[in-house]
């Protein structure tokens, strides 16, 4: 009968109840949606960044990370390869690359780019270049004088397929090496900055040009799903001889790590903001109904109802509002996110978001944990603040309450 009473009491003032219900619904919905949106954005951001030649792990020569010059290359790649083959889980992938800052030029323009010498087949499995839309063709073992360039770079340099780009950089002998490559493919990337920064040639071609012999700049590793990154990183560190360093993507992308933390903080702040707005509404509404029904509570006490029961009675009303609001809010949240599962196109704002490695299209994603947290906050804090009006109601003495005629 308590819930029946609470339920009927709620609808004595349908407008007020509806308003506060809407507040709960919007609050919860915005929490869910924001969480889903952020979650989607973050995951894609991490994936994008990992696929832009980072991988989950990298092995480099000590010193390369802070000073990525050719002297800090891995001169005995077979040594590293052996360790990788031994230590990594079976399904893990890895590849080695040559990387160097060079200048690309043609008759009209110069641009600083990162030359990436790759093993085309292994690389395609590892990073974005394997899936990127490509005009023209990909590299293969017999294309030592061909190059892949990004769409934005090609446009900036006013060039096109089959035209030449000359790359210039410092070789192992401290001399300027240069070599001309013909554009075999133009790739599109998620981010314009990626298109402008990277050009791809065969690893062998890069090694020849820079007189590196078999040396490479780094090994990049992609772990199978479920593998524990820190554990693998530790095992690699122990197995590798002196002179190498292992980096996880969190170390390689400190900005990304900072962003993850910032987003967490942002979601937390938003949760607090939503909750404060909703909590005030809830307390106010219930307080109003409590004062309006003062003589009713007086009557209940006169009849022998103890304070505890009265508190329960008031909390039951808050409970119903919260549960109704949560049901609707969750439903609405799931529906909205479902409706946007095709992706939310942010290209209009992408220019600003791009530096963080955010995608142009975000796929919001609801995670059970986020949902539980949002609901938990709304529910328990909601009941918590309702305790205030409940205690007020319990404190009316029958005599003073009855005087309010």
């Amino acid at each position: 009968m308590f819930f029946k009473m609470a339920w009927r009491n709620l609808w004595r003032n349908p407008r007020r109840t509806t308003v506060i219900l809407i507040a709960v619904v919007i609050g919860l919905w915005s929490l869910l949606f924001l969480n889903a949106f952020m979650r989607g954005a973050i995951e894609q951001m991490v994936e994008n960044n990992i696929s832009i030649l980072t991988g989950h792990l990298k092995v480099q020569k000590t010193g390369y990370h802070s000073d990525p010059v050719i002297e800090n290359s891995i001169t005995q790649p077979d040594e590293v390869k052996g360790v990788l083959a031994k230590v990594l889980p079976k399904e893990a992938r890895y590849t080695s690359r040559v990387r160097l800052q060079v200048v690309a030029s043609n008759a009209r323009h110069n641009a600083g780019v990162t030359l990436v010498g790759i093993d085309p087949e292994a690389e395609a499995e590892m990073s974005f270049i394997g899936d990127a839309p490509l005009q023209g063709r990909y590299l293969s073992a017999d294309t030592p004088h061909k190059i892949l360039a990004g769409r934005a770079l090609v446009e900036k340099m006013e060039t096109q397929l089959e035209y030449k780009l000359v790359l210039m950089g410092q070789d192992t002998q401290n001399e300027i090496a240069s070599r001309a490559f013909r554009i075999r493919g133009i790739f599109d990337a998620e981010l314009e900055s990626t298109e402008k920064q990277y050009v791809f040639v065969l690893k062998q071609a890069a090694q020849d040009m820079l007189r590196m012999g078999p040396a490479v700049s780094e090994f990049s590793v992609l772990l199978p799903e479920g593998a524990l990154l820190p554990g693998v990183a530790q095992a690699l560190k122990e197995a590798l001889p002196e002179g190498y360093r292992v980096y996880t993507w969190r170390e390689l992308l400190p900005l990304m790590d900072a962003y993850l933390k910032m987003f967490d903080g942002f979601i937390y702040l938003w949760t607090v903001a939503v909750f404060i707005a909703m909590g005030f509404g809830l307390v106010n509404t219930i307080l109003m109904t409590v004062y309006e029904r003062m003589h009713e509570f007086g009557l209940l006490k006169a009849l022998g109802m103890k304070s505890g029961w009265i508190i329960r009675e008031v909390l039951a009303e808050a409970f119903l509002i919260l549960v109704l609001g949560m049901a609707a809010g969750n439903g609405l949240g799931v529906i909205t996110v479902e409706a946007m599962s095709g992706g939310l196109d942010l290209s209009a704002f992408a220019a600003g978001a791009e530096f963080a490695g955010m995608s142009r299209i975000i796929y919001p994603r609801i995670v059970l944990q986020d949902m539980l947290v949002a609901n938990g906050v709304v529910f328990f804090l909601g009941l918590g603040v309702s305790l205030y009006p409940a205690l007020k109601a319990a404190r009316f003495t029958p005599v003073e309450a009855m005087l309010q005629t």
Binding site: M1, L303, M305
Partner: protein, 229 residues
């Protein structure tokens, strides 16, 4: 046997700097099975006295016992318990819980007494039939007339067989014919079931129903007469 015993009861209300002496020393014994009217002009202290007997408020001085329970020794929670099981209340107005039907209003106290659903319902129906409301069980208070509402209140007050029923001007908001009907009904319950009633009034017609009439004036018992029935 005295079901209510008051000795030297005073009550002073403090309103800011002004203190109002509502009761100035009341001694009163009420026997089981009484049908007693507290009569007196408005402001004489009737409501205050009933509130004290019902344990809704505490006296400034003096002792109050109801059904052998010494109020001075009881805390709020024990007083609530006593009200729940031993004392029925009928107020002048705002007697019923607006969101509950007549039947549910009567059932409600039994719910607090932790009586099972089936028994609650059966007893509530029976007592509502006794007060003549069989056809109106599902009506909400607002759908009942003033007289019918007071009957529901009486039904609720007596449903658990309390030691006393306290009624503060139960007929004040009713027209005289309806008021007489209510009093007749209370009197019948008193005669047939031995329910002890203490009710207050300032209406001469109502006083005529009482078997014992206690006149209150200026916070004191001015007259106490037992009338032949």
């Amino acid at each position: 046997m005295a079901i209510v015993e008051l000795t030297g009861v005073t009550k002073t209300y403090q309103q800011g700097k002004v203190s109002v002496q509502a009761l100035r020393g009341v001694d009163l014994r009420v026997e089981k099975g009484s049908f007693l009217a507290l009569a007196g002009p408005s402001g004489s202290g009737k409501t205050t006295l009933l509130n004290l007997i019902g344990g809704l408020d505490r006296p400034s001085q003096g002792d109050i016992r109801v059904d052998e329970h010494d109020f001075a020794r009881m805390n709020q929670s024990e007083l609530a318990e006593l009200r729940l099981f031993k004392i029925g209340f009928v107020f002048q107005s705002y007697n019923l819980i607006p969101v509950l039907s007549a039947l549910e209003n009567v059932e409600f106290v039994m719910l607090l007494q932790r009586i099972g659903a089936a028994e609650r319902r059966q007893r509530a129906e029976a007592v509502l039939a006794e007060v003549g409301l069989s056809g109106l069980l599902e009506r909400r208070p607002l759908e009942l007339s003033g007289g019918q509402q007071q009957r529901v209140a009486v039904a609720r007050a007596i449903v658990s067989g309390p030691a006393i029923v306290l009624a503060d001007e139960p007929t004040a908001n009713l027209d005289s014919k309806t008021g007489q009907g209510l009093l007749e009904m209370m009197k019948t319950l008193n005669a047939q079931k031995g329910v002890t009633f203490i009710f207050s009034t300032h209406d001469n017609m109502v006083m005529d129903y009482a078997r014992r009439l206690v006149l209150i004036r200026d916070g004191r018992v001015a007259e106490d007469q037992v009338k032949g029935s």
